[in-house]
Symmetry: C2
Subunit: 197 residues, 2 copies
DNA sequence: AATATTTGCTAACACCCGTTAGTATATTAT
DNA sequence: ATAATATACTAACGGGTGTTAGCAAATATT
């Protein structure tokens, strides 16, 4: 009998969720089967159900885990007494950090959330909308302060978020760029722009 | 008997591919069933196979249709005698244009290509890699010309492409922003950056 | 008008899916 | 050691999947 190996302070459920994140990222939520997951965990498919309620619950865990981390960071950044540009930079750095350190979860939360089922789906969408609104508000404050160009703030937010989401490609590539170099590059391009002024 | 309605100069297969793009965009390739597609076309599932070989063939058609259009544009832009910044701007404008006018196909090609099967899969990946290389080469030329900041060109390409891919969100929203406003905003942010210098 | 071709239908196939029931075994608590 | 609990197993379910076979009707060609 092949028990799920666990380390100290991690439940078996956490192990399953983690493996699920990797699998969902690789194959997509719909294409990844519970039998695939079972194999990756080292157990029969039915055994998973001693620890989880459903396949969808796995997606819940992943998506809301990520969403909560971002929300907490937003709280922290919002309340800081620094310039708008610095707030934007802090948020971007956090996004990149999350992308590097919790790659599978963040990727899945970004691309597969639509397979959540209500009420989790609408809850997630609301949280996401709120996050973007708060991000846009920071940029708008920066525009009023004359720190930031007069641009459409919601558009800017979407550009920033999607640009960062694109880091995936590096993880797949063999040539792993130094993470802090990558971050500085992104900050330069996104905050400073392409043109040499 | 409910025949598939066609307009002049469009085959029934083209109708199916177009409906498939909309469906794959909405539900994802794996989650969209041939019976769903049949209903959207107004016919029974089996009847589709008088016009197409397989579900995967639909994805081929969509992905390579898009890829070819981008490749042709790249040929055109590369051979023009304009500055690097102008070339970048032309490519970005084309991307946005494609996103607005062939939204479903571009979106599917961007997010669902991984469900292609070999040899189409590797073919597609190669084309995509080539496109990015050529884009990066334009940026590198701009850096040598002192038109563009000294940044990592491949990173910049990924940022640009993913930023533009994010336009999806507008299509879903009811408030449809004027397309040319949107384009100008994106050019400003991506080429010029956030900071007010 | 007769024939050939295209297009659609119903029925069915083999297969994969998420999940449950029932049972055996390993671990933990008494 | 015994009892209680946690965990895993095998087997199977109902349902959805892409696709094919065989036939009927509509259209196009002669």
């Amino acid at each position: 009998m092949a028990r799920i190996k666990i380390e100290k302070n991690t439940s078996r459920k956490e192990v399953i969720v983690s493996k699920a994140a990797a699998l969902f990222r690789e194959k997509g939520f719909k294409a990844a089967s519970m039998r695939d997951l079972a194999e990756s965990v080292g157990v029969e498919a039915a055994s998973l159900y001693n620890h989880i309620k459903s396949k969808t619950e796995l997606l819940h865990e992943i998506c809301f885990g990520v969403a909560n981390r971002f929300m907490h960071k937003m709280d922290e950044v919002e309340s800081g007494s620094i310039s708008a540009i610095e707030k934007v930079e802090q948020l971007i750095r956090f996004h990149i950090d999350e992308m590097v350190n919790h790659y599978e979860e963040v990727y899945v939360s970004d691309r597969e959330w639509k397979y959540l089922s209500d009420p989790y789906l609408s809850n997630f969408q609301t949280q996401r909308r709120m996050y973007r609104k708060r991000f846009a508000a920071i940029i708008e404050a920066g525009i009023r302060n004359k720190e930031i160009k007069k641009i459409d703030a919601p558009t800017a937010v979407l550009i920033l978020l999607h640009a960062i989401g694109g880091i995936e490609s590096w993880h797949r590539s063999t040539q792993k760029i130094n993470a802090s170099n990558l971050t500085d590059n992104m900050i330069t391009i996104l905050v400073g722009g392409l043109e040499l002024k």
